[in-house]
Symmetry: D2
Subunit: 145 residues, 4 copies
């Protein structure tokens, strides 16, 4: 379901029926969850599952998301989500995404997210530097693209 | 948005656009969340917000849910969810629900849920007796209906 | 992601982060959508995609769903959903499901759904007999199990 | 649940349990749906329910959404969503949103959406000019803010 293509990570999924709306297309909020699934798989495929990050007491929280909707997706359509590490800061990362149908090159949705690293402690979440191994991995991904 | 009618609690909400599907009706999974919102409001309206229960280290987890779909709901339709305490056990409760349109008496969906009380500790959840005040309140609601 | 095992169909998926709740487990409503994804894939894997059914003017609507929650699933856990055709009527079908972790045989959730065939026409949905090819396929699946 | 304050529309809702995630906060995708609910109520409160627009053969589809997450919301927290008409074009509108807790003035999330008017016909959606009454109403809202 996942792979790397020229530095970018690719993840595939299908639009669920529950994700369609009465206009007969995938509801726009579904894509926000597709982005999350894509970056989850990117991290796992690179050997640093997000779940492990949380077990070590860190989290990545969304600071900003932007999506541009170019063309709709349909029920059961297979989508390819291409995730690219754009920028790795001391405590944040920026990712860019392109979502297309598996049967076409034209993007349906393009998106960007900015995530901030936090330290989870006593129920609170304080900004924190990215753990070294995590930053190294993301930086390597970033350079390749 | 909430109230008591003959022992049962009533909660009102509207079907969100994101909750419709390409058949042009509220997707069946949305009702499971409507039930949860209805019982959340019932507890809060009776003076025992569920959030406080969790702060005290307890939780209510779903053991069983059953829904019967009689007639569909539409986008933006106002629904009335009537929640009734059916049975209060030592560590569990059973609730019955009836969902109808605000403009009609005919039920659209009927449902039942069984919830079990758990003690949340060290990331685990062990079955636990319902806290006394909680059981007393639920029993009182049950007798009235 | 799918396959047949002894008559039952198996589908695999992973718990999304958005599907977890503050108890740290997959929220109970997510499973209702997992069941739908599993039966969608079962139909597609057997050569009768649900989308085609709708294009032919038919739909399958949920009349009843029941879930029993035995044990929770976690973020990113791979789940196996085993779908079995229990009964094929003239205008309805009953399916049984078992959801387990990919790394264990113990079921986390068991479920049953009853679906009714409808004819979609002029925005309405009238009960209708299952199309012949569809019933034949489902009956064959039912007998094998 | 809704009202106008200095030209902007205000809508109130509560964070559902199903909308929390294992970080113990409202999941970021939930806000995209909150925005939709807020603009649905704004239109209905101003006398032009979105459902009527679709019945007349028009739709508003999202072309772009951007959210900035400043501070998290918690389960059952009452949120106030303030929606402002920023710009009304011939076939599109831009809305700005501010989401805050009902008990604080500090925004938790700020957002912008761009929506395009489409003509729904034969299952397709072609860009179309905003219906006159709709544009007039939105323009009036825009000028007041």
């Amino acid at each position: 379901m996942g792979g790397m293509a020229g530095g970018a990570h690719e993840h595939r999924l299908r639009v669920r029926y529950a994700e369609t709306d009465q206009m007969g297309i995938a509801h726009h909020a579904a894509y926000v969850i597709y982005l999350e699934e894509a970056r989850t798989r990117m991290l796992a495929d690179r050997g640093l599952p997000y779940g492990e990050l949380e077990e070590r007491g860190f989290g990545l929280v969304l600071r900003r998301v932007e999506l541009r909707y170019l063309s709709p997706a349909r029920f059961d359509e297979e989508l390819v989500i291409r995730t690219q590490v754009e920028r790795v800061g001391g405590a944040s990362i920026a990712l860019a995404y392109e979502i297309r149908s598996a049967t076409s090159e034209a993007p349906l949705v393009t998106a960007r997210t900015e995530l901030v690293c936090v330290r989870i402690r006593d129920g609170g979440r304080a900004p924190a530097a990215l753990p070294d191994d995590f930053r190294a991995l993301l930086s390597a991904l970033s350079e390749r693209t």
